[in-house]
């Protein structure tokens, strides 16, 4: 597709359930980012991949959060034992450029809205 695709668009999980969120970046984009956007706030950085390498995971809020991008394309964000505070929109973004290059405009997907009940 032409843009960043995320699935599912909506996910309702019972507290304690594990969830997996998928991101298909724009073809050829080297960089991939995950952000968490709580209601009424701006996106907050979770983690960054350059190809298959996870170069920055400083934003992951706990060890229940895990992300992977094994072949340098599709990425999955997994949340184990979900809690109510995990309820948010999870955004994926991709960029053609690598970290350090000037033109690092990122393109965002529509996000996955996770509600933990």
């Amino acid at each position: 597709g032409a843009g960043v695709s995320q699935s599912p668009r909506y996910k309702v999980a019972k507290r304690g359930q594990d969830v997996a969120l998928r991101c298909d970046p724009i073809s050829g984009h080297v960089s991939l980012f995950w952000y968490q956007q709580a209601l009424g706030q701006g996106p907050e950085f979770l983690t960054y991949f350059q190809n298959e390498a996870q170069l920055d995971k400083s934003g992951l809020p706990s060890d229940r959060f895990f992300a992977e991008r094994p072949e340098g394309s599709v990425s999955t964000l997994k949340i184990q034992r979900t809690q109510q505070e995990d309820s948010a929109v999870y955004l994926c973004a991709s960029s053609l450029a690598i970290q350090g290059q000037k033109n690092t405009e990122a393109f965002f997907g529509q996000g996955t809205r996770l509600t933990v009940v």
């Binding site: 960089s31 706030q41 920055d56 970290q99 033109n103 990122a106 996000g111």
Partner: protein, 113 residues
């Protein structure tokens, strides 16, 4: 710590009014700056960006922003808003040698017809 602050949470304007949304950042070193827009039900879209050079940046749909280094500001402006500009606007910043961006909390703009 790196941070971005947007002064207004909610702005209400009538059509044809002028718009200015404030954005201040706190970053060490050289910074790249962005304004994104999110229309209802849609994904974040880039309005404009500043990397270097002319501090007055023009974006899509008649928007512009001015980078004032001495004030650590990157305010968004539009001379005459339209009803279709109703959306949420996010300011973001990143270091030139980093991948991640830091976002402000957003400003919701409502334009009354």
């Amino acid at each position: 710590a790196q941070s971005v602050s947007q002064h207004n949470h909610h702005v209400i304007l009538s059509e044809a009014a002028s718009l200015e949304l404030g954005c201040n950042y706190s970053y060490g070193g050289t910074v790249n700056l962005f304004w994104y827009v999110q229309y209802p039900g849609q994904h974040l879209q880039l309005l404009l960006k500043y990397f270097s050079g002319d501090p007055l940046v023009k974006g899509i749909k008649g928007f512009e922003a001015e980078f004032i280094k001495s004030k650590f500001s990157f305010n968004l402006r539009k001379p005459s808003v339209q009803w279709s500009d109703t959306a949420e606007y996010f300011c973001a910043a990143k270091s030139t040698n980093a991948g991640k961006s830091t976002f402000g909390d957003g400003t919701t703009l409502t334009v009354k017809p």
